[in-house]
């Protein structure tokens, strides 16, 4: 077995890369939510002076990337790789932003799991000595996602209680080989799990088995249980998906309920009429970058497990009656180098 592999799905990073800087940009509704004060930029309106929603999302992506680079006192040409993606067809947001940024670029698609997918690969690139600086950026936008996956915005439809609300937001993380906490110490890569859920208004149920499977694999591979973490954070399971994940893991003998939060539940208040909670590539990016990392710096949390969760569907697969496969990738963030 490869030297630093632990079990079937996890690697331990021998020279753990650090998160050198970060930036978060969110839309108006997210700014009005309970975490509003933690984000770097809150937009006045979600169009941001652009002609289309897509252009606005692309600008959010670019600006978040630039902010993260500037905050670390670096230039775009210092960055070895840009990794990232978004929810739009052919990941146009990330591709078009990469055109402007001019950093060598790997475009990734893992639906809403793209954040930890990017950070997993970025951390491994640095650990292996292939890069000094890797920028990981993901974004999503309520209006671009709605028109691609569902109905026009002004269409009068009723959403069921399990429907999610796509987060308008972009988060950028600059990883480096410096010695400055927090560090990424472990990477657990998820498998695609499908329990046959076909309801596109129930993403939480589609993704919960994938989240539970990755958490279980991480515990088994590292030989540690929930007690080794101050917090376990999932990306966008929402209220219902969170409950399902707790139940699924209880069946496997792990109780994580006392230290388990979901970014989709944290970003909005229940009064904001978002039904099951937030979702999208931007959801875990802005909650992790804005809120959770701040709390880690303040010393509230020392070691956390972050999982972004993705529902791997398309409008074509849904119309053809296919079920919704889910995926979740986990990374351990630690204030110590381990």
């Amino acid at each position: 077995m490869a030297k630093y592999r632990l079990g079937g799905q996890t690697v331990r990073l021998e020279n753990p890369p650090c998160i050198l800087s970060r930036a978060t940009i969110v839309g108006k509704k997210e700014g009005e939510g309970p975490l509003g004060e933690y984000f770097d930029v809150v937009l006045e309106d979600d169009m941001w002076g652009e002609k289309t929603w897509e252009k606005a999302e692309c600008r959010m992506y670019q600006e978040a990337a630039r902010m993260a680079i500037i905050r670390a006192g670096k230039q775009p040409q210092d960055v070895n790789y840009l990794l990232g993606g978004d929810l739009l067809n052919q990941i146009i947001t990330a591709n078009f932003a990469a055109r402007t940024l001019g950093i060598p670029f790997f475009g990734l698609y893992g639906a809403c799991s793209t954040l930890t997918e990017s950070m997993s690969l970025g951390a491994m690139l640095i650990n292996a000595g292939y890069a000094d600086l890797v920028l990981c950026v993901t974004s999503s936008h309520f209006c671009t996602a709605e028109r691609q996956y569902r109905f026009p915005l002004e269409m009068g439809t009723q959403r069921p209680p399990t429907a999610h609300w796509t987060v308008t937001g972009a988060g950028a993380f600059l990883l480096s080989n410096d010695e400055k906490p927090p560090y990424i110490t472990h990477v657990t890569t998820g498998r695609v799990i499908d329990y046959g859920i076909t309801d596109t208004y129930n993403m939480g149920a589609a993704m919960a088995p994938a989240a539970a499977a990755t958490i279980k694999a991480h515990f088994e591979d590292t030989g540690q249980g929930p007690e080794a973490y101050d917090l376990i954070v999932t990306g966008d399971l929402g209220w219902f998906g969170r409950e399902l994940t707790i139940d699924l893991l209880k069946k496997e003998g792990y109780d994580i309920s006392d230290r388990f939060i979901d970014c989709g539940c944290e970003i909005y208040s229940r009064e904001q009429d978002v039904h099951a909670g937030g979702s999208g590539c931007g959801c875990s990016a802005v909650v992790f970058g804005g809120y959770i990392l701040r709390k880690m710096e303040e010393g509230v949390y020392k070691r956390i497990l972050l999982l972004s969760t993705g529902a791997l569907l398309s409008t074509t697969s849904t119309q053809q009656g296919e079920s919704i496969p889910g995926i979740a990738h986990a990374i351990t963030i630690d204030m110590d180098r381990g």
Binding site: K51, T52, R147, F151, P152, L153, E154, M155, G156, T157, Q158, R159, P160, P161, T162, Y195, G196, I197, N202, A205, P209, W239, F240, E243, L244, A276
Partner: protein, 150 residues
């Protein structure tokens, strides 16, 4: 798919169905009744107005009512109000003719950015299209049956 996985899937799906937060059926029905009823009452008032004020006969009055109600539906969609009515009204705001106007105007607004041909032109009936196809098909079918049975 192997039998074991099928069994697991079935168990999970049943479990999800059991645990899933349900829509408030009674509340939604009452709201749909009230919103739909209100729209239809307004329609009736428009019809009565046409009959008494413009001296329209029944057939003319229904055309007049359809024109006015479609205009109101389109206007409220453009003002960004109809989607809020739809959120509470559900089927009550979808079924009347104002809902039909909403289903055509909302994609027209949304896809204008893709141009007048491939945006507005091709997406205009993306939601109303199926209604038209099956509505017209059904009327042709019923017409044929009526023709032969008569």
């Amino acid at each position: 798919m192997d039998v074991k996985q099928q069994k697991l899937n079935k168990e999970y799906q049943e479990y999800v169905q059991r645990k899933m937060p349900k829509s408030y059926l009674l509340r939604d029905c009452v709201l749909a009744f009230l919103v739909g009823g209100t729209i239809c009452t307004i329609g009736q008032a428009v019809s009565n107005f046409g009959k008494s004020y413009f001296n329209l006969n029944t057939e003319e009055a229904s055309a007049f009512t359809a024109i006015v109600m479609i205009f109101i539906g389109a206007l409220l969609t453009g003002l960004g109000v109809y989607d809020d009515i739809g959120k509470y009204g559900g089927a009550g705001s979808v079924v009347p003719i104002t809902g039909f106007a909403n289903s055509i105007v909302s994609p027209a607004m949304e896809f204008k950015k893709e141009g007048y041909v491939f945006g507005v032109g091709s997406k205009l009936f993306s939601i109303a299209g199926p209604v038209l196809v099956y509505g017209i098909s059904t009327s042709v079918l019923v017409g044929l049956i009526y023709f032969f049975v008569k």
